[in-house]
């Protein structure tokens, strides 16, 4: 089935704020395209990596795969495998035209590319484009140089506008509500998966479009986090979660741990260690800091107390990561020298295993400000115990 929509110019009917955001994005991408000599950026998005589709269209498609063809001049064309997405694309108004992407016969993509006749194509998420589409792209643009534009889009998305930050602040409010739902439901005998069911229900009622959530329960035998199982909570368990709702396209994460009942000495010592590491990470954030430097600040706390090996590759090395239209952007890890500019957003979470109390999860998302950082969530940073109210 093909739905015919008369192409309308991108931006027609948008509010002034939305139009300004659209124009800002187009300018950023076109400046980068000019620098790299690209005639077309093609953003590909399988169902688990739709951030660039959202960046160009302000729509998260429901289809299993989507594409945006963004030429150096003229309007973008969006594609989706799902017909109902096409109306959503054009209704939102960020692209002028939407077409069906049929993986078995992607002829319409070929038509659009042939008309553009590009000499150089950059593909965002080039590394994920399936063979069937890559062969279509190459056939439609014979002789064109085809390379990756993943970094180009990642860089463009790194600095958040005020328009984006307003959305991320809404995610922050929902983060807090999700954590409250998490703590509220904890009791001995409850299976892990029922915790997730309750949290998802609360988040979705508040309008969350999605939620990335990992969980683990138990004591010092816990080495990492996963989707939930049927393990039943016991008194004295520490229950950990990374909880990451998505509102209006933007993900934001909160990391906390709670004890079913009262915490023991090991769990308290573990919290103190992780809290000091979070504080250390926050204390160094300023414009121009690198991901490496934030990670070092966190890891130095572990090293100071003799727990440095738990920040190594045998355990968990990542000390946080960027946030935005993707939940896991720039990794905060020693060796990553990416500069974190003003208005970039990332979570500081030194989550790892230690023998003190097993895997511990604690972290806050922050925005880099002109002279430091702003913690984006209001949830108290403490070791929660059953009965606490966030």
């Amino acid at each position: 089935m093909t739905i015919d929509h008369a192409p309308a110019p991108a931006g027609a009917g948008l509010s002034p704020e939305d139009l300004a955001e659209l124009q800002l994005r187009h300018r950023k991408i076109r400046d980068a395209m000019a620098e790299q000599g690209l005639d077309v950026v093609l953003a590909y998005g399988p169902a688990w990596r739709r951030e660039n589709i959202r960046y160009f269209t302000d729509v998260t498609p429901a289809g299993s795969a989507a594409l945006v063809v963004f030429p150096a001049e003229g309007d973008a064309v969006a594609f989706s495998t799902r017909p109902s997405d096409l109306a959503a694309f054009t209704a939102q108004g960020w692209v002028g035209e939407a077409r069906r992407l049929d993986p078995a016969n992607p002829a319409e993509l070929g038509v659009v590319l042939k008309e553009l006749a590009p000499r150089r194509i950059g593909i965002a998420h080039h590394e994920l484009v399936p063979l069937v589409l890559m062969e279509t792209i190459r056939a439609a643009a014979p002789g064109a140089e085809v390379g990756s534009a993943t970094k180009l889009l990642d860089t463009a998305r790194l600095v958040k506008s005020e328009w984006e930050l307003a959305r991320m602040r809404r995610s922050a409010v929902v983060c807090a509500a999700g954590w409250e739902a998490f703590v509220d439901v904890l009791e001995p005998g409850l299976p892990e998966y029922r915790i997730v069911a309750e949290v998802e229900a609360r988040l979705k009622n508040l309008g969350a479009e999605d939620n990335f959530m990992l969980i683990a329960s138990g004591r010092d035998e816990v080495r990492g986090m996963t989707p939930p199982g049927d393990r039943l909570l016991e008194a004295g368990d520490m229950v950990r979660t990374e909880l990451t709702p998505k509102m209006d396209g933007y993900w934001l994460q909160i990391c906390r741990s709670a004890v079913v009942g009262k915490a023991d000495d090991g769990q308290r010592k573990s919290f103190d260690l992780f809290n000091e590491a979070v504080e250390a990470g926050i204390s160094v954030v300023r414009p121009g800091i690198t991901a490496h430097e934030v990670a070092v600040a966190e890891n130095d706390v572990f090293r100071k107390y003799g727990y440095g090996e738990y920040c190594s590759s045998n355990y968990t090395r990542v000390r946080g990561h960027g946030h935005g239209l993707h939940l896991d952007e720039t990794p905060i890890i020693e060796g990553n020298h990416t500069v974190l500019p003003e208005n970039s957003v990332f979570i500081i979470h030194p989550n790892t295993y230690t023998p003190l109390a097993g895997y511990h999860v604690l972290g806050d998302p922050v925005r880099v400000t002109a002279d430091g950082c702003e913690v984006l969530i209001t949830t108290e940073r403490k070791l929660f115990e059953t009965g606490d109210v966030a």
Binding site: M1, P83, Y193, E200, K204, N211
Partner: protein, 348 residues
């Protein structure tokens, strides 16, 4: 996203059945002259991997290596601590970790006599990964294979059928609760999240469609263990056209019998769909449950294909109105020689 219950229960799927699934693939590989087959999976498309191993790929990508004989090996970029959980919750005993699949495949094949490797569902592999693997294993012939694993999944086993029945019951109850009169967009999703994830579903995709005359369709596609069910319902009876698409769905489901062509479902629905407003475009679809994770979007529907006894899937009627509105009704059924068995919908 896969945020619900993940279990490995021998009472639901026996060790014998797990072994039979891999053995059947190895037999198909032999028929195509393949010495080692590779199955690619990512977060959004991992059902073949799960079918062979019970692995739950909740993050990132993975490649399963299946030799002509012997145990499978999971090639992963995930760390050891995640591998430990995967080992405990799946049938996989062999893991290999590293930074990229080309190196992992080269390491896996090291010491093996050169032969033919096969990429299962090759057209859907990331082109970069496929190219890198080819470059990393000189001396090996690389063969693009079709959907060998999916083909095994098209007709569920007795154990899978029981799981589908359980899934259908849970989904049906949840959908009925979520679509009561007075429900809101938020309450509908809240209800199905609590009921389905709380009932043991692993994955869940609620969806809402709307039309310019104010009619909402609410659908849920969900995964219970490794099997999928789908139901979509039009809320309210205020407009005339909802009755037409409901009638069309009823007629299409009635036509879903063993031996029937998929095209006959649309033919059965056509009289009811003739009552739709001018300019509306309707599509009647059959999506085998093995393809529901992607709503069948990676498979072109062949009207000449014939439904098999025991096959389970969703019958849907999807309508796009000329003004951009959309609606969909769907239920999941199991095909038999006689009346189809309703897994969702008629259980109300």
């Amino acid at each position: 996203m896969k945020r619900g219950l993940h279990v490995l229960d021998p009472a639901e799927t026996s060790d014998q059945e797990w072994g039979d699934r891999v053995a059947a693939l190895q037999k198909a590989m032999a028929a195509q002259g393949v010495d080692v087959a590779f199955v690619y999976a990512d977060v959004s498309r991992s059902d073949d991997l799960a079918y062979l191993t019970n692995l739950c790929l909740y993050w990132n990508e993975g490649v399963l290596a299946i030799p002509a004989e012997g145990p499978v090996t999971f090639l992963t970029k995930l760390s050891l601590r995640v591998q430990n959980w995967m080992k405990a919750s799946s049938k996989v005993t062999e893991f290999s970790g590293g930074k990229n699949f080309a190196d992992l495949v080269a390491k896996y094949l090291l010491g093996k006599k050169n032969g033919t490797i096969g990429l299962v569902d090759a057209a859907l592999w990331p082109a970069d990964v496929a190219d890198e693997i080819v470059a990393a294993v000189p001396g090996w012939q690389v063969k693009r294979l079709g959907s060998l694993v999916r083909e095994q999944r098209l007709i569920p086993s007795a154990a899978e059928t029981e799981l589908l029945r359980a899934a259908g019951r849970i989904l049906d109850d949840a959908a009925a609760k979520a679509t009561v009169e007075g429900s809101t967009a938020g309450s509908r999703v809240e209800t199905v999240e609590r009921a389905l994830r709380g009932g043991g579903f692993l994955d869940l995709y609620p969806s809402s469609l709307s039309t310019s005359d104010g009619v909402t369709s609410f659908g849920v596609t969900g995964q219970y263990r490794m099997n999928w069910v789908y139901s979509s319902r039009v809320l309210g009876d205020g407009a005339s056209w909802p009755a037409a698409i409901k009638d069309a769905l009823t007629a299409a489901i009635a036509a879903a019998k063993a031996g029937a062509r998929i095209g006959s479902l649309a033919e059965a629905a056509a009289p009811a769909l003739a009552k739709l407003p001018g300019g509306a475009k309707a599509e009647v679809r059959w999506v085998n449950q093995a393809d529901l994770s992607t709503s069948g979007e990676f498979r072109a529907q062949d009207p000449a294909a014939v439904l098999a006894d025991g096959e389970a899937g969703a019958v849907s009627v999807e309508v796009a109105f000329a003004d951009g509105g959309n609606a969909a009704v769907a239920e999941t059924v199991r095909v038999t020689e006689g009346e189809p068995e309703h897994l969702t919908g008629a259980q109300r």
